[in-house]
Symmetry: C2
Subunit: 152 residues, 2 copies
Amino acid sequence: MLFWEDFHEGHVATCGRYVVGREEIIAFAREYDPDPIHLDDSAAEATRLGGLSASGWHVCAIFMRLLADGLLINADSMGSPGIEEVRFLRPVHPGAVLKLRRAVLETRDSKSRPEMGLVKFRFELIDATDAIVFELIGVIMFGRRNPGARLA
Amino acid sequence: MLFWEDFHEGHVATCGRYVVGREEIIAFAREYDPDPIHLDDSAAEATRLGGLSASGWHVCAIFMRLLADGLLINADSMGSPGIEEVRFLRPVHPGAVLKLRRAVLETRDSKSRPEMGLVKFRFELIDATDAIVFELIGVIMFGRRNPGARLA
Protein backbone atom coordinates (compact mmCIF):
# COMPACT_ATOMS: atom_id res chain seq x y z
CA MET A 1 0.00 0.00 0.00
CA LEU A 2 1.44 3.34 -1.06
CA PHE A 3 1.18 6.36 1.21
CA TRP A 4 2.02 10.03 0.63
CA GLU A 5 5.56 9.46 1.85
CA ASP A 6 6.17 7.03 -1.04
CA PHE A 7 5.89 9.70 -3.76
CA HIS A 8 9.00 11.64 -4.71
CA GLU A 9 9.44 14.61 -7.02
CA GLY A 10 10.75 13.58 -10.42
CA HIS A 11 9.68 9.95 -10.22
CA VAL A 12 8.27 8.68 -13.54
CA ALA A 13 6.41 5.40 -14.17
CA THR A 14 4.37 3.90 -17.00
CA CYS A 15 1.55 1.40 -16.59
CA GLY A 16 -1.46 -0.25 -18.12
CA ARG A 17 -2.89 -1.08 -21.51
CA TYR A 18 -6.34 0.03 -22.67
CA VAL A 19 -7.74 -0.83 -26.09
CA VAL A 20 -10.37 1.73 -27.06
CA GLY A 21 -13.35 0.05 -28.73
CA ARG A 22 -15.61 1.52 -31.41
CA GLU A 23 -18.78 0.50 -29.58
CA GLU A 24 -17.49 2.01 -26.36
CA ILE A 25 -16.76 5.32 -28.11
CA ILE A 26 -20.28 5.44 -29.49
CA ALA A 27 -21.97 4.35 -26.26
CA PHE A 28 -20.19 6.99 -24.19
CA ALA A 29 -20.97 9.70 -26.75
CA ARG A 30 -24.63 8.74 -26.99
CA GLU A 31 -24.95 9.15 -23.23
CA TYR A 32 -22.83 12.23 -22.59
CA ASP A 33 -21.40 13.93 -25.69
CA PRO A 34 -23.69 13.37 -28.69
CA ASP A 35 -21.61 15.11 -31.34
CA PRO A 36 -21.56 13.36 -34.75
CA ILE A 37 -17.76 13.26 -34.61
CA HIS A 38 -18.08 10.74 -31.75
CA LEU A 39 -21.07 8.86 -33.19
CA ASP A 40 -20.95 8.53 -36.93
CA ASP A 41 -18.08 7.44 -39.20
CA SER A 42 -19.08 9.36 -42.29
CA ALA A 43 -19.75 12.61 -40.41
CA ALA A 44 -16.44 12.21 -38.61
CA GLU A 45 -14.45 11.54 -41.77
CA ALA A 46 -15.39 14.94 -43.16
CA THR A 47 -13.74 16.69 -40.20
CA ARG A 48 -10.19 17.64 -39.28
CA LEU A 49 -10.00 14.67 -36.91
CA GLY A 50 -10.04 12.26 -39.87
CA GLY A 51 -12.56 9.73 -38.57
CA LEU A 52 -14.59 8.63 -35.57
CA SER A 53 -12.92 9.89 -32.39
CA ALA A 54 -13.61 9.41 -28.69
CA SER A 55 -15.13 12.27 -26.73
CA GLY A 56 -12.47 14.13 -24.78
CA TRP A 57 -14.44 13.27 -21.64
CA HIS A 58 -14.34 9.64 -22.59
CA VAL A 59 -10.56 9.90 -22.88
CA CYS A 60 -10.56 11.43 -19.38
CA ALA A 61 -12.60 8.47 -18.12
CA ILE A 62 -10.19 6.00 -19.75
CA PHE A 63 -7.32 7.87 -18.09
CA MET A 64 -9.12 7.44 -14.76
CA ARG A 65 -9.48 3.71 -15.30
CA LEU A 66 -5.76 3.33 -16.06
CA LEU A 67 -4.94 5.43 -13.00
CA ALA A 68 -7.25 3.39 -10.77
CA ASP A 69 -5.91 0.04 -11.93
CA GLY A 70 -2.27 1.11 -12.16
CA LEU A 71 -1.88 3.21 -9.04
CA LEU A 72 -4.86 3.98 -6.85
CA ILE A 73 -5.80 0.37 -6.20
CA ASN A 74 -2.47 0.03 -4.40
CA ALA A 75 -2.52 3.38 -2.65
CA ASP A 76 -4.27 5.07 0.24
CA SER A 77 -5.93 7.56 -2.11
CA MET A 78 -8.28 10.17 -0.67
CA GLY A 79 -9.58 11.62 -3.93
CA SER A 80 -8.80 14.84 -5.73
CA PRO A 81 -9.72 18.47 -5.17
CA GLY A 82 -9.60 19.14 -8.91
CA ILE A 83 -7.60 19.32 -12.09
CA GLU A 84 -5.24 22.05 -13.17
CA GLU A 85 -5.02 21.46 -16.88
CA VAL A 86 -6.15 19.02 -19.56
CA ARG A 87 -4.86 18.99 -23.13
CA PHE A 88 -6.38 16.89 -25.89
CA LEU A 89 -3.36 16.58 -28.18
CA ARG A 90 -4.47 14.00 -30.75
CA PRO A 91 -7.75 12.32 -31.61
CA VAL A 92 -8.33 8.85 -30.13
CA HIS A 93 -9.74 6.57 -32.81
CA PRO A 94 -11.23 3.07 -32.42
CA GLY A 95 -8.51 0.50 -31.86
CA ALA A 96 -6.14 2.92 -30.15
CA VAL A 97 -3.99 1.21 -27.53
CA LEU A 98 -3.20 3.53 -24.65
CA LYS A 99 -0.89 3.39 -21.67
CA LEU A 100 -0.47 5.84 -18.80
CA ARG A 101 2.70 7.66 -17.84
CA ARG A 102 2.84 9.58 -14.58
CA ALA A 103 5.47 11.98 -13.29
CA VAL A 104 5.49 13.45 -9.80
CA LEU A 105 5.81 17.24 -10.09
CA GLU A 106 5.49 18.17 -6.42
CA THR A 107 4.55 16.79 -3.02
CA ARG A 108 3.38 18.76 -0.02
CA ASP A 109 1.70 18.12 3.29
CA SER A 110 -1.70 19.46 4.26
CA LYS A 111 -1.76 22.13 6.95
CA SER A 112 -5.40 21.55 7.78
CA ARG A 113 -5.48 17.73 7.56
CA PRO A 114 -2.38 16.16 9.10
CA GLU A 115 -3.56 12.68 8.14
CA MET A 116 -3.01 13.37 4.46
CA GLY A 117 -0.62 14.88 1.94
CA LEU A 118 -0.94 16.10 -1.64
CA VAL A 119 0.90 14.98 -4.76
CA LYS A 120 0.81 16.92 -8.02
CA PHE A 121 1.28 14.76 -11.13
CA ARG A 122 1.67 15.21 -14.83
CA PHE A 123 -0.18 12.34 -16.49
CA GLU A 124 0.11 11.43 -20.15
CA LEU A 125 -1.74 8.90 -22.27
CA ILE A 126 0.59 7.41 -24.87
CA ASP A 127 -0.49 5.46 -27.95
CA ALA A 128 1.15 2.48 -29.68
CA THR A 129 3.35 4.81 -31.76
CA ASP A 130 4.59 6.50 -28.57
CA ALA A 131 2.71 9.69 -29.38
CA ILE A 132 1.24 11.59 -26.44
CA VAL A 133 -2.49 11.92 -27.08
CA PHE A 134 -3.59 13.46 -23.78
CA GLU A 135 -1.99 15.35 -20.92
CA LEU A 136 -3.40 16.16 -17.52
CA ILE A 137 -1.94 17.97 -14.54
CA GLY A 138 -3.74 17.33 -11.30
CA VAL A 139 -3.45 16.81 -7.57
CA ILE A 140 -4.28 13.64 -5.67
CA MET A 141 -4.63 13.42 -1.89
CA PHE A 142 -3.02 10.43 -0.16
CA GLY A 143 -3.09 9.22 3.39
CA ARG A 144 0.17 9.57 5.34
CA ARG A 145 1.91 6.62 6.87
CA ASN A 146 3.03 8.96 9.63
CA PRO A 147 0.45 11.70 10.12
CA GLY A 148 1.90 15.13 10.83
CA ALA A 149 1.35 16.93 14.09
CA ARG A 150 -2.01 18.67 14.23
CA LEU A 151 -1.49 22.42 14.25
CA ALA A 152 -3.09 24.55 16.91
CA MET B 1 -27.25 28.75 -35.13
CA LEU B 2 -24.73 30.54 -32.91
CA PHE B 3 -21.35 31.56 -34.29
CA TRP B 4 -18.28 32.99 -32.59
CA GLU B 5 -19.54 36.53 -33.14
CA ASP B 6 -22.58 35.78 -30.95
CA PHE B 7 -20.58 35.37 -27.73
CA HIS B 8 -19.82 38.47 -25.67
CA GLU B 9 -17.64 38.90 -22.61
CA GLY B 10 -19.67 39.00 -19.42
CA HIS B 11 -22.72 37.23 -20.80
CA VAL B 12 -24.21 34.74 -18.32
CA ALA B 13 -26.90 32.13 -19.00
CA THR B 14 -28.32 29.10 -17.17
CA CYS B 15 -29.79 26.03 -18.81
CA GLY B 16 -30.81 22.43 -18.42
CA ARG B 17 -31.89 19.99 -15.75
CA TYR B 18 -30.14 16.68 -15.08
CA VAL B 19 -31.26 14.27 -12.39
CA VAL B 20 -28.35 12.09 -11.34
CA GLY B 21 -29.44 8.48 -10.84
CA ARG B 22 -28.00 5.95 -8.41
CA GLU B 23 -27.70 3.24 -11.06
CA GLU B 24 -25.96 5.65 -13.41
CA ILE B 25 -23.42 6.60 -10.72
CA ILE B 26 -22.62 2.94 -10.12
CA ALA B 27 -22.51 2.00 -13.82
CA PHE B 28 -20.09 4.80 -14.67
CA ALA B 29 -17.87 3.97 -11.71
CA ARG B 30 -17.80 0.27 -12.49
CA GLU B 31 -16.54 1.07 -15.98
CA TYR B 32 -14.11 3.91 -15.32
CA ASP B 33 -13.57 4.78 -11.64
CA PRO B 34 -14.07 1.69 -9.46
CA ASP B 35 -13.56 3.33 -6.06
CA PRO B 36 -15.92 2.05 -3.32
CA ILE B 37 -17.05 5.64 -2.68
CA HIS B 38 -18.75 5.56 -6.10
CA LEU B 39 -19.96 1.97 -5.89
CA ASP B 40 -21.07 1.01 -2.44
CA ASP B 41 -23.36 2.84 0.00
CA SER B 42 -21.92 1.48 3.20
CA ALA B 43 -18.31 2.06 2.19
CA ALA B 44 -19.21 5.58 1.08
CA GLU B 45 -21.07 6.43 4.29
CA ALA B 46 -17.91 5.93 6.31
CA THR B 47 -16.10 8.68 4.35
CA ARG B 48 -16.02 12.45 4.47
CA LEU B 49 -18.36 12.61 1.48
CA GLY B 50 -21.21 11.25 3.58
CA GLY B 51 -22.59 8.68 1.17
CA LEU B 52 -22.47 7.33 -2.36
CA SER B 53 -21.08 10.04 -4.68
CA ALA B 54 -20.58 10.28 -8.42
CA SER B 55 -17.07 10.02 -9.81
CA GLY B 56 -15.65 13.44 -10.60
CA TRP B 57 -15.26 12.25 -14.18
CA HIS B 58 -18.90 11.30 -14.24
CA VAL B 59 -19.76 14.83 -13.12
CA CYS B 60 -17.61 16.10 -16.00
CA ALA B 61 -19.55 13.89 -18.40
CA ILE B 62 -22.87 15.17 -17.03
CA PHE B 63 -21.57 18.72 -17.48
CA MET B 64 -20.78 17.83 -21.11
CA ARG B 65 -24.30 16.53 -21.69
CA LEU B 66 -25.84 19.73 -20.30
CA LEU B 67 -23.47 21.79 -22.44
CA ALA B 68 -24.27 19.79 -25.58
CA ASP B 69 -28.03 20.00 -25.11
CA GLY B 70 -28.11 23.58 -23.83
CA LEU B 71 -25.59 25.25 -26.12
CA LEU B 72 -23.57 23.21 -28.60
CA ILE B 73 -26.57 21.72 -30.37
CA ASN B 74 -27.45 25.25 -31.48
CA ALA B 75 -23.93 26.41 -32.24
CA ASP B 76 -21.25 25.91 -34.86
CA SER B 77 -18.95 24.27 -32.32
CA MET B 78 -15.54 23.02 -33.45
CA GLY B 79 -14.49 21.23 -30.27
CA SER B 80 -12.06 22.18 -27.55
CA PRO B 81 -8.29 22.27 -27.28
CA GLY B 82 -8.46 21.53 -23.59
CA ILE B 83 -9.52 22.56 -20.12
CA GLU B 84 -7.84 25.06 -17.88
CA GLU B 85 -9.23 24.15 -14.51
CA VAL B 86 -11.75 21.86 -12.87
CA ARG B 87 -12.88 22.08 -9.25
CA PHE B 88 -14.99 19.44 -7.54
CA LEU B 89 -16.59 21.61 -4.84
CA ARG B 90 -19.24 19.31 -3.35
CA PRO B 91 -20.08 15.64 -3.67
CA VAL B 92 -22.86 14.74 -6.11
CA HIS B 93 -25.17 12.19 -4.50
CA PRO B 94 -27.96 10.13 -6.11
CA GLY B 95 -31.01 12.27 -6.78
CA ALA B 96 -29.04 15.49 -7.22
CA VAL B 97 -30.70 17.84 -9.71
CA LEU B 98 -28.14 19.87 -11.62
CA LYS B 99 -28.30 22.80 -14.00
CA LEU B 100 -25.52 24.49 -15.94
CA ARG B 101 -24.51 28.13 -15.69
CA ARG B 102 -22.07 29.56 -18.22
CA ALA B 103 -20.29 32.90 -18.23
CA VAL B 104 -18.19 34.19 -21.12
CA LEU B 105 -14.79 35.24 -19.75
CA GLU B 106 -13.06 36.14 -23.01
CA THR B 107 -13.39 35.87 -26.78
CA ARG B 108 -10.60 36.02 -29.34
CA ASP B 109 -10.04 35.20 -32.97
CA SER B 110 -7.63 32.55 -34.23
CA LYS B 111 -4.57 33.81 -36.07
CA SER B 112 -3.91 30.49 -37.76
CA ARG B 113 -7.51 29.53 -38.58
CA PRO B 114 -9.53 32.50 -39.82
CA GLU B 115 -12.66 30.38 -40.09
CA MET B 116 -12.94 30.04 -36.33
CA GLY B 117 -12.72 31.93 -33.06
CA LEU B 118 -12.23 30.94 -29.42
CA VAL B 119 -14.42 31.57 -26.40
CA LYS B 120 -13.25 31.04 -22.82
CA PHE B 121 -16.06 30.17 -20.39
CA ARG B 122 -16.51 29.62 -16.69
CA PHE B 123 -19.03 26.81 -16.31
CA GLU B 124 -20.73 25.90 -13.04
CA LEU B 125 -23.03 23.04 -12.10
CA ILE B 126 -25.60 24.21 -9.58
CA ASP B 127 -27.77 21.96 -7.45
CA ALA B 128 -31.37 22.36 -6.28
CA THR B 129 -30.23 24.36 -3.23
CA ASP B 130 -28.34 26.77 -5.53
CA ALA B 131 -24.98 25.49 -4.30
CA ILE B 132 -22.19 25.32 -6.86
CA VAL B 133 -20.97 21.70 -6.93
CA PHE B 134 -18.55 21.89 -9.86
CA GLU B 135 -16.63 24.58 -11.70
CA LEU B 136 -14.76 24.34 -14.99
CA ILE B 137 -12.86 26.92 -16.99
CA GLY B 138 -12.28 25.97 -20.59
CA VAL B 139 -12.09 27.15 -24.18
CA ILE B 140 -14.44 26.18 -26.99
CA MET B 141 -13.76 26.83 -30.67
CA PHE B 142 -16.66 28.14 -32.76
CA GLY B 143 -17.05 28.78 -36.46
CA ARG B 144 -17.21 32.43 -37.51
CA ARG B 145 -20.17 33.83 -39.38
CA ASN B 146 -17.70 36.15 -41.12
CA PRO B 147 -14.30 34.45 -41.38
CA GLY B 148 -11.38 36.79 -40.81
CA ALA B 149 -8.85 37.58 -43.47
CA ARG B 150 -6.25 34.86 -43.84
CA LEU B 151 -2.89 36.20 -42.69
CA ALA B 152 0.10 35.97 -44.98
